[in-house]
């Protein structure tokens, strides 16, 4: 991890307001919250008097301390003893924050355990001596109704102040979610970014020799926990995508040796065919509102992007140019669609309105571009860059600011985290015999890590934040 230090140069200036207003030291300062920028700019000088300008800071992971979460009383629960859960919750928060690449959690082993009353009254002097700038404390308590209550408190060690707190009541089976929620709270408060730890990933789990790979649909938490298979592997599945409501998954299956698009209902475990058609259909993806599904269909040697209701029905054709148009992905507002097309000779990225009008090419760099995916934040489009290997990249919806985030042999299949700051993809090593693993990288391209899966994995699809 590179630790680049911004200029620590300080600039100072002393400003007096024209109107020297004698201030009563005991009078509370008015809390101003100017709405418009102009007013905000002037707000600093309104009080009159001495103004000291300070500039300083670094761009580096933040040291943060997450001691073991104590419990008021050790109680045995279906998820385990509360004191053990307290330790594991601290580990979950620690790992989530570390994996984000924006924090450097202190090793829990180096931190002294805290008592239950200490959760709300931290010993800031001690935590300051550890070098931590932020402190996450929490507790776990077994309720009489069988649920667990997890409290999560975030403190700023320097200013010795509580920044925020949240409590969760969860059934024992969801105790890990409480840890992710706690980490989300910390992450959101300290980075200003959206939450993403309490989310799940669906992907294609692979195993077996190269010629007879068994590909099964699998789902897990974003950190790899709570892994389970959704299909039995009797038929190959590809390109799974979450529905916005997280209750279903759309994917392509070779069920009965007929490649087609199915929707899998997570609750019932049942799957249904979306487009009953003799043609090859693939690359499905839900619209942001979940009402429609984009997919590609090959018909008469020409592949185009279609839209169909998620309940089924007659597909509506959105593109009609000669060549292969595929991989459609909605913008978050549902107004536009990004897709790839080789109409110009090679695979490039195009953007069109949701009704198929106004198709415009946005990628003009060297090489080819595939599998574009619109960020849930709307500000970026992730893609796979082909040329001298497969690499994951991002660009703005207008095509500018192209940036490649990875540089390995074969990285492909990007999928955005719920907050649009991290991308999952799968990586095939050179000479790996088709084996692939799941990886993630953030927008800086610096924080790259492998996502643990019991078997090989490909085609990850990151689901929305869980409610």
């Amino acid at each position: 991890m590179t630790r680049s230090i911004f200029s620590s140069a300080a600039v100072m200036a002393f400003v007096f307001s024209g109107t020297a207003i004698a201030q009563d030291a005991s009078a509370p300062a008015p809390q101003q919250a100017p709405a418009d920028p102009a007013a905000q700019a002037a707000a600093g000088d309104q009080s009159g008097g001495l103004v000291v300008d300070v500039t300083g800071g670094i761009s580096a992971p933040m040291p943060i301390a997450i001691p073991v979460m104590p419990t008021a009383a050790v109680v045995s629960t279906p998820a385990g003893s509360t004191d053990v859960l307290g330790r594991q919750l601290a580990d979950i928060v620690t790992n989530d924050l570390r994996n984000s690449g924006l924090f450097t959690p202190l090793s829990p082993g180096q931190l002294r355990p805290i008592t239950f009353p200490e959760v709300t009254a931290p010993g800031f002097d001690y935590w300051g001596s550890t070098g931590a700038q932020a402190l996450v404390q929490g507790f776990i308590r077994a309720n009489g109704d069988g649920n667990l209550t997890v409290g999560c408190y975030l403190y700023d060690v320097s200013s010795k102040a509580e920044l925020t707190r949240t409590g969760f009541v969860v059934p024992p089976s969801d105790w890990r979610r409480a840890g992710h929620k706690c980490a989300d709270m910390v992450y959101t408060r300290l980075t200003g970014e959206g939450a993403y730890f309490d989310s799940r990933v669906v992907y294609v789990s692979e195993t077996g020799p190269k010629g007879r790979r068994i590909k099964r649909l699998a789902i897990m938490d974003q950190d790899g926990a709570n892994h389970r298979f959704l299909t039995n592997g009797q038929s190959i599945v590809l390109t799974p995508r979450f529905a916005p409501n997280q209750q279903s998954i759309v994917y392509m299956s070779y069920l009965n040796n007929r490649p087609a698009i199915y929707v899998y209902d997570i609750g019932s475990g049942k799957q249904r065919l979306v487009v009953a058609n003799a043609n090859l259909t693939f690359a499905p993806r839900f619209s942001p509102d979940g009402r429609n599904i984009l997919f590609s269909m090959a018909q008469g040697g020409n592949t185009d992007v279609y839209r169909v209701s998620s309940q089924g029905g007659t597909p509506q054709r959105l593109t009609n140019s000669p060549g292969i148009d595929t991989g459609g992905s909605y913008s978050p507002d549902g107004a536009k669609i990004v897709f790839e097309s080789d109409r110009s000779g090679g695979q490039q990225i195009y953007v069109m309105n949701a009704d198929g009008s106004n198709q415009q090419r946005i990628s003009f760099g060297g090489g080819r571009y595939a599998t574009p995916v619109w960020s849930p934040r709307g500000d970026l489009i992730a893609f796979t860059k082909l040329g001298g290997g497969f690499r994951i990249g991002i660009m703005s919806p207008s095509g500018g600011g192209e940036k490649l985030l990875t540089n390995d042999w074969q990285d492909e299949g990007p999928s955005w985290s719920p907050n649009g700051r991290v991308i999952n993809f799968y990586r095939s090593g050179r000479g790996s015999g088709g084996k692939a693993d799941l990886w993630s990288v953030d927008l800086t391209g610096v924080n790259e890590r492998k996502i643990p899966t019991p078997l090989d994995g490909s085609d990850p699809a990151w689901g929305p934040l869980r409610p």
Binding site: F6, S7, S8, A9, A10, M12, A13, F14, F16, A20, A22, Q23, A25, S26, P28, A29, P30, Q31, Q32, A33, P34, P37, Q40, A41, A42, A43, G44, D45, Q46, S47, G48, G49, L50, V51, V52, D53, V54, T55, G56, G57, I58, S59, A60, P61, M62, Q133, D156, S158, S159, K160, A161, L163, R189, L190, T191, G192, E193
Partner: protein, 358 residues
């Protein structure tokens, strides 16, 4: 004219001729005079902030009482000097207080020359020993020989106060003192020297306020009322010898305090971690209220933001945190000048504007 004179005259004439010729030749061959130095016009702008700003003492202390408490029948009273009628009625100018140099340290506002109250029982500035009997205050000798501590300049300094009057006062002050000494010198050289050295030497002699000299020697209308020196109080005088505080923090002093604050909080600023790209455009201003010992009187409050746009709005809360942590993490502040604590624009209440580098 004898011969020698002729020779001398001839030599002188020849010598002058030679000298004239030599100089003439020399001037012909002399190099040109150096060019006249060109004068570059210089723009002069008047900058009010260059100098200390209104550092004039603006005392808010109440001056020592000029009239002694009534503790007995007056022994004598110096006749009031009519013309010198001080604006302030109450103080009883003690005669001898020709404060030639009234306000000691503080440059600006010279305290008005109000003569110091005579028998100030409580002039604690310096327990003026009564020794200086020898140099009696020129003017009105206080009748009683109470061991009045001569009120030196101190009382006068603190007396006036009031910013507005302070400005006007100086001229008066200077004028009067000058006149006073002159008079005194005429009356008695001794007193004049004494008064210049120590303005308010109390005279141990029992001055007779009715004497003409007393009147004339009185520097400025020091009117001694009937209650003049009625008695001395054992209570300490409220007047202080300390220099009054500046009315307002001047530019230079502000820069010095700002530097001192910056030096102490900069290490904490350098530790803050930027939440993300774009956050460096945010500038947050926090208001700080400090106790005299440098600790925070109350929690810092956010008083304004600048540089916030749609891209970095999500970082505003965090930058607020960083600004507060920058100050709180390095507080309490140490070593700030105590006398500039609660002056106007002093460091008892100031703002800190924080931003991330970039």
């Amino acid at each position: 004219m004898d011969r020698s004179e002729k020779i001398g005259l001839g030599v002188a004439v020849v010598g002058h001729v030679l000298l004239f010729g030599a100089l003439s030749l020399g001037l012909l061959g002399a190099p040109e005079l150096p060019k006249k130095i060109e004068q570059q016009p210089i723009d002069v702008s008047l900058v009010p902030d260059v100098a200390l700003e209104a550092t004039a003492p603006q005392s808010v202390e109440t001056p020592a009482e000029s009239v002694a408490p009534d503790e007995g029948a007056p022994e004598d009273a110096a006749p009031p000097a009519p013309e010198e009628a001080e604006p302030e009625p109450q103080p009883d100018p003690v005669p001898p207080a020709p404060q030639p140099k009234p306000a000691p340290p503080k440059p600006a506002p010279k305290p008005q020359p109000a003569p110091e109250p005579v028998a100030k029982p409580q002039p604690k500035p310096k327990p003026a020993p009564p020794k200086p009997a020898a140099k009696p205050a020129p003017v009105a000798k206080p009748v009683v020989k109470p061991q009045p501590k001569p009120e030196k300049a101190p009382p006068t300094k603190s007396a006036p106060a009031k910013a507005a009057p302070a400005k006007a006062a100086p001229s008066k002050a200077t004028a009067k003192p000058s006149a006073a000494p002159a008079k005194t010198s005429s009356t008695s050289g001794k007193t004049s020297s004494a008064s210049s050295a120590k303005p308010a030497k109390p005279s141990s002699t029992k001055g007779s306020g009715s004497t003409a000299e007393a009147k004339t020697s009185r520097p400025r209308g020091s009117r001694l009322g009937d209650n003049f020196l009625k008695g001395l109080s054992a209570d300490p005088s409220p007047s202080k010898s300390e220099a009054p505080k500046a009315a307002k923090l001047g530019a230079q002093a502000a820069a010095n305090i700002g530097s001192a604050i910056l030096r102490q909080v900069q290490p904490c600023a350098n530790r803050q971690v930027t939440p993300g790209p774009g956050a460096e455009r945010i500038r947050v201003t926090i208001n700080l209220k400090l106790n005299r010992d440098g600790t925070l009187k109350s929690r810092p409050t956010i008083s304004g933001h600048a540089g916030v746009d749609d891209d970095n709005r999500r970082y505003v809360d965090r930058v607020d945190d960083l600004a507060i942590a920058t100050f709180v993490g390095c507080s309490p502040l140490r070593g700030l000048p105590d006398d500039l604590y609660d002056v106007q624009n002093g460091w008892s209440n100031f703002s800190l504007r924080y931003k991330l580098p970039g």
